[in-house]
C-alpha cells in the first residue's frame, strides 16, 4: 500500500500532487514578473527619484532572482510547507532533553497584545512600566522556583545562558585573584557545556559517569584542584537520573574555591520538589522553551535566563530591572558587570509567555507538572523495559533512556526504530544521545500527554520490536508514509547546496 502510494507519487511529480501531500516548489521557481504580495502605505511626500536621494555609486538597481509572488501564492506556499511539518499540536513528540510539552494557546494571545509586541525597547521608562513590572516579577518567580538569589533575563537561549553563566563565574574568580584554567564536564553533558566553557576561555576536563549513571563525588574530588574554575552539572542528568551526590560535589568544589554551574535543561522534573539553589549551585540557566512551555518555533527563539547567587550579582549583565518606590527602572550602573550578551533586554516575547505560564499554574500546578512528567516517563520505562534494553534500571525522572542492544542482532539500529515510529504517527525520541549509551533512545513524554497517547506509543514501540525480528527490512527502509523517505545526508555534506542558484540569478 505504502509503496503504491509512493510510486503513484512519482508518476504525478511535476503534474499535480500525490494525494494530499502537496509537492511545493521553491519560492524562486514560482510567480511571475511584476507580481507583488502586499500593498505599501501611500507615498504622501514628494516622490523624488532615487538618484536625488543617494549618491549613484551607493544605489542598487535590482535584486536578481528575488521572488515575485502574489499574496495568495505566498499564503498557499507556506500553508503547504506547514503541512510538511510535525508539531506538538499534531501529536506525541517525545524528544528527550527537549521537553516538547503542549504550548498553551492563551500564552500565544497575550504576548501579541500591542503593549508587549508593539513596544519599542528605547521608549521612555514612563511608557514601559508594564513591561518592566513583568520582568521584575518574572525574576522573582524564577528566583523562588530555583532557590537562586537573582536572575538575569537577558540571554536569548539556554546556550547563551551558559556563556553568560560561565562569564559570571570567570568574572567572580578574577575578582578573587585569578580566573583559573579548567572546567569539569561530565561525559553525559549536553555538547553546549564544553562549547560554552571553551568560548569563555576554559579547557574542559571530562568526568566519567559512575556505574549508576551518575557523577560520583570521588571522581570530582580526584579531578578538583585550585586550577579548576567550575563544574558544569545537569540535574537531573541526561539519563533522566537525579545527581544524588550533588550536595557533596558542591562542597568539594567550593572547598577548593571553585563554582558550581547547573544546566537547568531538565528543571521540569523537579520543579516545586527540589531547588538547585538548595543543592549548592552558584549559577543555573533556565530553558523557558522547555520548562515553561514557550513554543520551540521549529528551533527557536527560546529564552535562557540565568539564576545566580548573591556573590555573583555585582557581575550581572546590564541593565537590571529595579523597583524604586512604585516605579520600575532599568539600572545600567553596575561597575563590575560583564557587559551585555545581546542588545536590549532579552527575548521579551518569550518571557511574556513563560510568565503567563507560571501565573496560570501557580505553586500547586508547577509541582504537579513535575509529578506527572516523572510518572509518565516511569510508566513508559516500566512498560517497555521488557522489550528494549534499559542500560540504567530503577526509576527515572522526566525521561528514560533505552538502547538498541536487543534489536542489534537483527541488524536493526536505533535510527531504524526512530524512522519506523514515524509510520505510526509519532515523532521519534532523541537518538544517539547521551553519548555514553551506545544507540541511545531518550524518551521524554512530558506531563501534557494523556495515558491513552502513552499507551499507543508503547504499543507502537512493541510492534516495532516485533517487526525488527520478523521483517527487519521494513524498519531499515522506513519511513514509508512521510512526504520524503530517508534523505541522502552524505550527498548533502559532500556537495553542499545551501541556496537556490537558478534562473536569472547573477550569483555565482
Amino acid at each position: 500500500m505504502t509503496e503504491e502510494v509512493q510510486r503513484s507519487g512519482d508518476v504525478e511529480e511535476g503534474v499535480g500532487t500525490p494525494g494530499l501531500i502537496f509537492n511545493e516548489p521553491l519560492l524562486f521557481d514560482q510567480g511571475s514578473k511584476g507580481r507583488v504580495g502586499c500593498t505599501l502605505p501611500e507615498c504622501d511626500v514628494p516622490e523624488l527619484k532615487p538618484e536625488r536621494l543617494l549618491p549613484k555609486k551607493l544605489l542598487r538597481q535590482d535584486i536578481p532572482g528575488f521572488p515575485e509572488l502574489s499574496e495568495v501564492e505566498v499564503v498557499r506556499h507556506f500553508t503547504r510547507l506547514s503541512q510538511h511539518n510535525y508539531g506538538v499540536d499534531l501529536g506525541f513528540y517525545p524528544l528527550g532533553s527537549c521537553t516538547m510539552k503542549y504550548n498553551p494557546k492563551i500564552n500565544e494571545e497575550v504576548w501579541r497584545l500591542p503593549g508587549f509586541s508593539r513596544a519599542h525597547p528605547y521608549q521612555p521608562q514612563s511608557l514601559i512600566q508594564g513591561a518592566l513590572e513583568l520582568m521584575y516579577e518574572l525574576e522573582a518567580l524564577l528566583a523562588e522556583i530555583s532557590g537562586m538569589d537573582r536572575v538575569s533575563l537577558q540571554p536569548a537561549a539556554g546556550a547563551q545562558g551558559e556563556i553568560l553563566g560561565m562569564m559570571l563565574i570567570r568574572a567572580y574568580l578574577e575578582s578573587q585573584g585569578r580566573p583559573r584554567k579548567r572546567v569539569l564536564v561530565p561525559d553525559s553533558s549536553h555538547g553546549t557545556n564544553p562549547a560554552s566553557a571553551a568560548i569563555c576561555g576554559y579547557q574542559c576536563v571530562q568526568i566519567k559517569s559512575g556505574p549508576r549513571g551518575r557523577i560520583e563525588s570521588q571522581a570530582v574530588a580526584d579531578a578538583m584542584d585550585e586550577d579548576v574554575a567550575a563544574i558544569m552539572i545537569t540535574n537531573p542528568n541526561t539519563l533522566g537520573l537525579f545527581e544524588d551526590q550533588i550536595a557533596e560535589i558542591a562542597k568539594i568544589v567550593h572547598a577548593k574555591g571553585g563554582q558550581v554551574y547547573c544546566d537547568g535543561a531538565n528543571l521540569n522534573a523537579i520543579i516545586g520538589i527540589s531547588r538547585p539553589g538548595d543543592m549548592g549551585v552558584d549559577v543555573l540557566h533556565f530553558n523557558m522553551h522547555k520548562t515553561f512551555a514557550v513554543p520551540h518555533g521549529g528551533g527557536g527563539p527560546g529564552a535562557g535566563p540565568v539564576g545566580l547567587k548573591a556573590h555573583l550579582a555585582p557581575f550581572m549583565p546590564i541593565p537590571v530591572v529595579e523597583k524604586k518606590g512604585k516605579r520600575f527602572v532599568l539600572n545600567e550602573d553596575l561597575p563590575s558587570s560583564v557587559g551585555k550578551v545581546r542588545a536590549f533586554y532579552g527575548n521579551f516575547a518569550a518571557l511574556v509567555r513563560a510568565y503567563a505560564y507560571i501565573r496560570s499554574l501557580g505553586p500547586s500546578g508547577l509541582r504537579r507538572v513535575a509529578e506527572v512528567a516523572v510518572l509518565n516517563a516511569n510508566y513508559i520505562m516500566s512498560r517497555l523495559k521488557d522489550t528494549y534494553h534499559l542500560p540504567y534500571d530503577k526509576f527515572c525522572k522526566h525521561e528514560c533512556v533505552f538502547s538498541d542492544a536487543r534489536q542489534a542482532p537483527h541488524g536493526i539500529q536505533t535510527l531504524d526504530i526512530a524512522k519506523r515510529l514515524m509510520d505510526y504517527g509519532f515523532h521519534p525520541p532523541t537518538i544517539y544521545f547521551p553519548l555514553i549509551v551506545r544507540g541511545a533512545m531518550m524518551i521524554e513524554p512530558t506531563e501534557t500527554e494523556t495515558k491513552e497517547t502513552l499507551d499507543q506509543f508503547i504499543a507502537a514501540m512493541k510492534r516495532i520490536a516485533e517487526e525488527a525480528e520478523r521483517d527487519p527490512e521494513l524498519l531499515r527502509s522506513a519511513p514509508h508514509k512521510t512526504k520524503v523517505s530517508r534523505l541522502d545526508e552524505v550527498k548533502a555534506a559532500r556537495q553542499p547546496n545551501l541556496r537556490w542558484r537558478g534562473k536569472g540569478s547573477r550569483l555565482p
Binding site: V45, L54, V110, A131, H190, G297, F348, L375, N497, L498
Partner: protein, 449 residues
Amino acid sequence: MQYIPNTEADCRAMLDAVGVRSSEELFADIPSKLRLKRGLNLAPPLSETGLQRHMRGLADKNADVDRYASFLGAGAYNHFIPAAVSHLVFRSEFYTAYTPYQPELSQGTLQAIYEYQTLICQLTGMEVANASMYDGSSALAEAILMAHRINGRREVVLPRSVHPEYRSVCRTYVSTLGLQLHEAPYTDQGATDLKTVRAAISNRTSAVVVQSPNFFGVLESLDELAEVAHRAGALLIVTVAEPVSFGIVRSPGESGADIVVGEGQPFGNHLNFGGPYLGFFASKDAYLRNMPGRLVGQTTDKVGRPGYVLTLATREQHIRREKATSNICTNEGLCALAATVHLSLLGRVGLRELALLNLRKTAYAKAAISALRGCELRFTGPTFNELVVRVKRGTPAQVNRALLAKRIIGGLELGRFYPELSDCLLICVTEQNSREEIDALSKTMGSGR
C-alpha cells in the same frame, strides 16, 4: 488542571503499572535534605480569564507604536507587517515543532530555512548564509570570533559608529579570549574615519568591522574600507541593523565584504520590546566551515525526490563539543520564517518600493528639520532612514517631553551612549510615519513646545 490531562484515576493506573504506591516514591532518589519542605511561595493559579485580564492590565501600562507616533529606531524598527505574515507564522505546525533533526517530519521548516538562506544571500550579495542567530549584536560578535578562527589574528577595528549595544556585546564575547578591539572615531559626515582605520590596521588585524547604514543612519564607504582591510590581509565584516536598506542600497557583497551580519527584525518581526529578534549571518563559500550556526542543504531521498536536511553539522557543539565553531543551537526559526514570508510578499518590486518610501519620507523629514532655527543636522553624509539632529534650543530631553505631550515618541537621546552628542537626537522615519506625523514632529521641534 487544563494542561495536565491525566486524572487521578489515570495516574493511579499508571502508578500500579510502575509498581509504586505514590508518585512520592519516584522521587525517593532525591536526598531528603535537598527536598523543598514547603510549597513554592508563588501567587495562586489564575484562570484563563483571570490571566487575560492580568496580562492586559500589564500591557496597558506600556505605550505602543500603534497608539503613539514613534520616531525611534536605533536597531529596532517599526515597519508595516502584512496580515498574511502573522497568519502563517501562527500556524502551529511551524511554531510547535522542534529543530528539524528528523528531516522526514520537518520538510516545511527545512524548505523555509533553505529559502531564507537564499533570500539572505540575495540581499547581502554573499554566497552562503546560515539558518540565523539570536540577534544582530550577537551575530556580530560571532562574526568577529569567526574572523579570528580564519586568520588567527587578534586585533579588530570596531568603529564608534557601530551600534553601542552591539559594541558592548562584542566586548563581552571576546573579553575572555584576549582579542583586542580598537575603536575608530567618526567624521563630521557621520562616517567612520578612514584615516584612523588606515593607521590602526596592521598585519595583526583580523577584521575591520563597519555598520552601514551606521548607528547614525549614515551610509559608509564600504569599497574603501574593503580595500584597506584586504590590503592588510584582514577581513571586512559589514553589519546591517536596518536591512530594509538592502532594497535600494548596493549590497555589501558587491563592495567586497567577507562576512555580512545583521538584524533581521525589520522583516516581519514585531518590536517585542527588544526581542526575540533575528540575527542574519552570511559569508563566502571559502569560509563555510568556519561559520557558526545551523545550515540547511538540499539533497535527495532514496527515490530521488528533492528534500532538505540540516547539514555540515560537524562544525557544531553536539558533535565537536569544545572545538565547535560556536555553542549556538538556535536557528531562531520562527523569526526567520516571519522574515521569509514578509520578504516573499514584498518581493523584488515591493522591497525596492519600501526602501524608496523610507528614503523619501526621511528626506522629507530631513528637509523640514534642517529648515528649523532651533535644530540642525549633525552630520552631512548620505543617510537611509535615520538622522542625527542637534537641538540648539533647550535639551533633547525637553524636546522629547514636548513631543510626548502630543503623543509623539521622539528620537533617541544620544547622550546616553555618546557624551559628546548629548545635545543630539537620533530620529528614525519609516513608511509607518505619515506626513502629518512628520510635520507635527518638526513643528514641535521648532517651537520647543
